[in-house]
């Protein structure tokens, strides 16, 4: 688990400086505080900052193959590396480390990109074939590990985080208006984009090849859902027992590490299930970590404590006060590198710090269960709206929504209006984006805060067409739930939950999170299971609840789902946070020209005065504030956050230009 970064010359060999790659690596120090190494020749220089987890002493990177023609830098974990290693050794490969990194390299040597289908893990890695001058970079199937790149002049830059690309002065740091529009619709950018102009993300499940000045990107994996003829016809009991087996194995291989492994515990079904599986099957001395909130409506303390005593684990909590959440937002933005519409990443940033302080580098989490097993309200909402759409005049059908959102349907006012709200698109249930249109149209209202300049730039842009273009061919044939699951995983899981709420805030404190529910074997198996078994009636994650039947107490298994969220208004306003006032001031808003300053002032006044805040006003506040923070942090004020170039622990220098020349060059510069 680490940070990787590199620079490649696209057209001809030339000088790449150790210090240029060193600056990039330096900005990734938090991802890999234990050691660092670089490989460099006349075509490419790449480096890795390492958080040592497997083969602590021997696994230093970059790693090479037997004849040193192939080199690799790797961020992530390959959980099935022991099994893969065995067959590689049998095939005659000589290993000089015990690491999973070396396993990837030999596998790549034999199978090129086909090696990806054998890897079970979370990863982003780059392999340099120094003989054929070919660079290969890839990301894991669902996008747990990040990878960004850009082309500037005749050079190609890549890295685990965008800040490393920006540590090269010549790369522009400009907000991309189209991306901002997408975020203010989908809550994140669509795959491939970032909030910054010309900075690209390598999409999840894709690899990139660069050879002979040609760059190609290929998708090697995507979520797929079986059509009716291909669904499995196992009994529910058989599905449950198969899944239990898979889940236990997914947990087992994720406990592989040469350091101690802990677990996040929220008190919900998903994290409780993982924690129970570890405790009961693998580790009796388990340490768990959880978040407590100041605001009661966000807190799950009661259930957390119940699980702690039920499982008898060594539990440590972090207390997320409103004020602390507000104070930490700018630090979190440095790591997330994308505007947010919610503050949920902040408490997780606090939690990873706690984990780090307790001497842990690895934790298992319950992320992904809602997507894979059908846990979100938006899925149930889709089912109800599809049912309603068959008879749009029905008075009774929409009333099912009241069961889904009892807290917002609590009075007559809400009932009348919520019904109209969810009615959007009910006349067109065949729309490809039917499941998510209510949410996205609603979110889009915050675009009203765009400045005239930005609105003008965006006036012909329609984000839904861009989305429709990336939908797989089979998509239109899937049922309503599968479509909704696809959209949720492709957009929100990959580019928000696994990044802003996952890798970024964990790695900020050098903590690796591992997510058993997102083992590809589980995803692929669940995609064969009929939708009606995933959500039975309105009982979400029905199969997973059965898996945990004798493992979790009924109070946890049957509790009403509690969405993980963090308070917004009470964290950001009325807490004497100077930065909030500054970034929302007329001067600051007008400086970046992204928002309408008088509207922003009115929004802030309204929220400061009122006791409650509507969903949409809260989203607008966070969206505007975090965009402002990013504009400043990655704009004029970027340099001050960067360290000096890293002093590498390990240097493989194969350049034809001598070291002294580089020193001279650096001094002149």
């Amino acid at each position: 688990m680490c940070g990787i970064a590199g620079i490649a010359n696209l057209t001809e060999p030339g000088s790449i400086l150790i210090n240029s790659v060193g600056m990039m690596a330096s900005s990734l120090r938090h991802r890999g505080p234990n050691e660092s190494g670089i490989y460099i020749d006349d075509w490419l220089g790449f480096a890795q900052t390492r958080l040592s987890i497997i083969d602590l002493l021997g696994g230093s990177q970059p790693i090479h193959n037997e004849d040193k023609s192939l080199w690799i830098v790797f961020n992530g974990e390959i959980y099935n590396y022991l099994e893969l290693r065995r067959s590689l050794v049998e095939a005659g490969h000589k290993f000089y480390t015990l690491s999973d990194t070396e396993v990837i390299l030999h596998l790549y040597e034999d199978e090129k990109e086909n090696c990806l289908s054998k890897l079970n893990g979370q990863f982003a890695f780059a392999v340099w074939d120094s003989t054929n001058k070919e660079l290969f970079i890839c990301r894991d199937r669902v996008g747990k590990k990040p990878l960004y790149y850009t082309i500037n002049g005749n050079q190609f830059f890549f890295s685990s985080e965008i800040k490393a690309l920006f540590s090269n002065d010549q790369i522009d740091r400009e907000i991309d208006y189209i991306s901002l529009n997408q975020i203010f619709t989908f809550w994140t950018t669509l795959p491939g984009r970032t909030i910054f102009k010309d900075i690209k993300e390598l999409p999840a499940g894709s690899y990139l090849k660069y050879k002979n000045s040609k760059l190609t990107i290929t998708k090697y994996w995507d979520y797929d859902f079986a059509l009716p003829d291909n669904l499995i016809n196992y009994s529910t009991d058989d599905i449950v027992s198969k899944l239990k087996e898979l889940l236990i194995d997914a947990v087992r291989i994720r406990l592989r590490a040469d350091v101690q492994v802990g677990s996040y515990l929220s008190g919900g079904l998903d994290s409780s299930g993982i924690t129970a599986l570890i405790k009961k099957n693998f580790n009796n001395e388990l340490s768990t970590f959880g978040i407590r909130f100041e605001e009661e409506s966000f807190d799950e303390g009661e259930y957390q404590s119940a699980m702690v005593s039920n499982l008898n684990v060594d539990h440590t909590e972090i207390f997320a006060s409103n004020k602390k959440i507000g104070e930490l937002l700018p630090d979190v933005m440095w790591h997330c590198e994308i505007p947010l519409l919610r503050l949920s990443p902040v408490p997780l940033f606090m939690l990873s710090k706690l984990v780090n302080q307790n001497g842990f580098r690895v934790v298992l989490t319950g992320e992904g269960a809602d997507e894979v097993f059908g846990g979100y309200n938006i899925f149930k909402e889709t089912l109800i709206r599809s049912f309603w759409a068959k008879y749009p005049d029905s008075e009774l059908r929409p009333r099912l929504l009241e069961r889904l959102y009892p807290y917002i349907f609590k009075d007559a006012t809400s009932k009348a209006n919520l019904k109209s709200f969810f009615k959007l698109g009910i006349d067109n249930p065949n729309d490809l984006l039917f499941s998510h249109m209510v949410r996205w149209q609603n979110t889009s209202r915050i675009k009203r805060f765009f400045s005239d300049d930005l609105a003008n730039e965006n006036k012909d842009y329609e984000p839904y067409s861009d989305l429709k273009e990336i939908l797989p061919e089979k998509y239109s044939k899937w049922d309503a739930l599968s479509k909704a699951q696809y959209l949720e995983m492709k957009i929100f899981l990959s580019n928000y939950l696994l990044s802003s709420q996952g890798d970024r805030v964990a790695m900020a404190h050098s903590v690796e999170i591992r997510m058993p529910y997102l083992d590809y074997r589980i995803i692929e198996f669940m995609s064969l299971v009929p939708s009606y078994l995933k959500i039975r009636g309105l009982n979400e994650k029905s199969i997973l609840k059965k898996v945990f039947k004798d493992i979790l107490p009924d109070t946890i298994r049957q509790r009403v789902k509690h969405p993980y969220r963090a308070p917004i208004k009470n964290s950001l306003l009325n807490n004497n946070l100077d930065y909030v006032d500054e970034y929302l001031s007329e001067e600051s808003i007008n400086k970046y020209r992204l928002f309408n300053s008088s509207m922003v002032t009115k929004l802030k006044e309204k929220l400061t005065k009122s006791n409650s805040a509507s969903e949409i006003d809260s989203m607008a506040l966070v969206g505007i504030l975090t965009t402002q923070i990013l504009s400043d942090m990655f704009g004029d004020n970027f340099q001050y956050r960067l360290n000096k170039p890293i002093t590498f622990d390990r240097i493989y220098d194969r350049r034809s230009i001598s070291m002294s020349e580089e020193l001279l060059y650096t001094e002149r510069k």
Partner: protein, 91 residues
């Protein structure tokens, strides 16, 4: 200021933060995403405070609260009714 203008001003400043271009008298608040469920509560409170009457639960209907014109009609009806009640009492 005319009654409907008072309503318009409130909706513009409170829900549109000054951006008046998308609001016509017959614009449907929900369809255009101007007001959500919490917004309707704010609107009800505003009407009660400004026009000094109680909005009953079963009056919070799409037909009464979904556009400036409809809201204005509802308030007129309400004030008219109240007026009648007051007159009756006076007699």
């Amino acid at each position: 200021m005319e009654q409907i203008e008072i309503l318009k001003e409130f909706v513009i400043s409170n829900f549109l933060f000054g951006k008046s271009t998308i609001l016509e008298y017959d614009t449907d608040f929900l369809e255009k995403g101007i007001i959500d469920s919490i917004g309707i509560l704010e609107l009800v409170c505003f009407v009660e405070e400004t026009f000094n009457f109680k909005v009953l639960d079963d009056e919070i209907l799409h037909n009464n609260f979904s556009s400036l014109t409809k809201l204005n009609n509802y308030i007129n009806l309400k004030l008219g009714k109240l007026q009648k009640v007051v007159q009756k009492c006076a007699v």
